[in-house]
């Protein structure tokens, strides 16, 4: 069984959500459409629907996170599920319990879904392969590998503003090497039919074989974003850098920081995205981050609808699917 098969049940429905890689265009579109239906719930007097009433969702976070964890929590609560937040880094593993033992302990509490964030690539896949048949696993970011709900909320944001994917010119800028977001975005954008997909950044932060994914590489920012409909900026992930890949943040900003001036080479109606948290003055200028073309806060709002959609879909796959 490959890592992609494990995501789907025997009827081809989403059972776990681990990566955007290998998912069909139809399925990605279904997730976006489902999220669009859920978006309206956030505007109600009672921001809740009873879809997952009685289900228990466990946020299993082995790596710190604010945005992803809180939006998953809010999404689960808007679906009326019960939510448990576990920060494992501060818990049992420090007492020597193995991951498998932790999982079995949590399963014994009759939970229905794990949201997993882990510093190691492949952690969510591993857990999905271990859990009991009735339990679904959603990847909330694993190492450098994938962050599929983030990628999907980015797709949702792009669709809100640009409607159709194939004709778009999209630039992903910055620390691609350490970015699970970029990887998930590339797979999703290619599947949705984007032809002109560009990766922009210094050689040291771009994986050597990235062109095999069907992207063009640029090492100069203004050339890379020229005529772009969408620019997505990545956070410089200093905490994952083990060697001196960059001279200094100051120099990085001078070359790759997105400023109003550099933005002029993109299309007038370009949207600027960022998965957050933002390093102002490192990868993006404050005026751009807060400016009229920034959709960064919309991304956060859309994240709730996307996470509601994915949770509802994996739980709706039914108990008999394994």
């Amino acid at each position: 069984m490959t890592e992609n098969d494990i995501q789907l049940d025997h009827k081809g429905r989403l059972k776990h959500f681990l990566t955007t890689e290998g998912l069909s265009r139809q399925l990605l579109t279904d997730i976006l459409d489902t999220a669009a239906s859920f978006a309206e719930v956030g505007g109600r007097a009672v921001k809740k629907v009873p879809l997952l009433r009685g289900k228990t969702v466990i946020n299993l976070f082995f790596e710190p996170s604010t945005r992803t964890r809180t939006t998953f929590e809010l999404a689960a609560k808007r679906l009326s599920a019960d939510v448990l937040n576990l920060n494992i880094s501060t818990s049992s593993t420090s007492k020597g319990e193995s991951l498998q033992d932790t999982l079995h302990t949590l399963e014994a509490m009759h939970c229905d879904m794990f949201i997993v964030r882990h510093a190691s690539s492949g952690a969510a896949h591993f857990i999905a392969g271990q859990v009991a048949p009735g339990i679904s696993v959603i990847n909330g970011g694993d190492g450098r590998n994938a962050h599929p709900t983030q990628a999907l909320l980015d797709m949702y944001t792009i669709r809100q503003h640009k409607h159709d994917f194939p004709p778009l010119r999209i630039a992903i800028v910055g620390d691609v090497a350490h970015s699970r977001v970029a990887r998930s975005q590339i797979h999703a954008l290619k599947t949705l039919g984007v032809q002109d997909l560009r990766i922009v950044g210094p050689k040291t932060l771009i994986p050597a074989d990235i062109e095999a994914l069907g992207v063009r590489v640029f090492h100069e920012l203004e050339a890379g974003i020229e005529g772009a409909d969408v620019i997505t900026m990545l956070r410089l992930q200093r905490e994952r850098m083990r060697s001196a890949l960059l001279p200094s943040e100051h120099e990085y900003y001078a070359c790759y920081g997105l400023t109003e001036k550099k933005l002029k080479s993109a299309r007038k109606d370009v949207i600027v995205m960022h998965p957050g948290p933002i390093n102002r003055g490192v990868e993006i200028d404050t005026h751009v981050a807060d400016g009229p073309r920034s959709v960064i806060l919309q991304q956060v709002t859309h994240g709730i609808a996307i996470r509601m959609a994915v949770m509802a879909m994996v739980m709706g796959a039914g108990p008999e699917s394994g």
């Binding site: 579109t29 489902t34 239906s37 309206e40 007097a45 879909m313 709706g316 039914g318």
Partner: protein, 172 residues
Amino acid sequence: MRARHEPTVNVEVLIDRLADQLQVWLRSKQISEPAIIGIHTGGIWIAERLRDKLRIAAPLGHLNIAFYRDDFSQIGMHPHVTPSKLPFEVEGRHIILVDDVLYTGRTIRAAMNEIFDFGRPASICLAVLIDRSGRELPIQAQAVGKTLKLKPEEHVKLSGPEPLALEITAGA
């Protein structure tokens, strides 16, 4: 499976009948500014016509109970759920809830739950084109176009929106 159109039933006549009953209902309760909500999809078609006939000022409410179904864990998530839209203040409002067919009562229960998530209405009354046998919950309509006695394996379906027609199919 054989389908038969119900030749004796003219849907427009039934809608007129509903409008008359609702008129009487509203007058007896002294309700002057009701809002009207149709349940996706057949209920919306009927509610649209009733709104015109009753000259209701508030825009039409659309309700899609997909997120409130009690059989979600068996049937799963349908990706194309037209969002519910209640473009008026529900709080304190007298509401006319409209559906095409009243059968088990589960749809109406789900619809009432959803309405309450938008606010606390002053009252809800139910108008249905067809009231068929097979109730599983204590729910009854205040306005009924036509009562049909059907066997469990028989289904009645409204097709539309133009023209509206009733179709009764006997199960295999």
